[in-house]
Assembly symmetry: C2
Homo-oligomer: 85 residues x 2
Amino acid sequence: MRFRGKIVITLKPGVFDPQGVTIKSALHSLGYQETDEVKTGKYFEINLDSNNLDTAQKRLEEMCDQLLANPVIENFHFTVEPSDN
Amino acid sequence: MRFRGKIVITLKPGVFDPQGVTIKSALHSLGYQETDEVKTGKYFEINLDSNNLDTAQKRLEEMCDQLLANPVIENFHFTVEPSDN
């Protein structure tokens, strides 16, 4: 079966986000003063073959742990669902 | 009122994703051969003050159009909801 994982990786609370700070000031200079905080992160979509949903979930978790997320400074969460393409 | 926008920005179909190709081969070398395709993107969380949900939605759309997404090669979608912090 084919599955699609949608993975969001964000910085852990307390980790400085210079990109977010830069984007916030850029938004202010564009006139969006109402912007209070900007947090940046990474997004991945992964198509994979798997016997079942549990296995797909387990493998995606491992992929995040081993490669996609830096466990020292990043958190990750993901959804996985059957995919038809 | 405070709102939190969660924005996902992905490459448009057909736009080459070298980072995705690199990550796919890295996952294969780590033993995740079942990985068929990897798409990469950006994720932002934006906290903003707004009079109501519609205005917050409209402003976030403008922020994506003007700064966060490159309209030539990227698509964006977002959710926005009231936030208590």
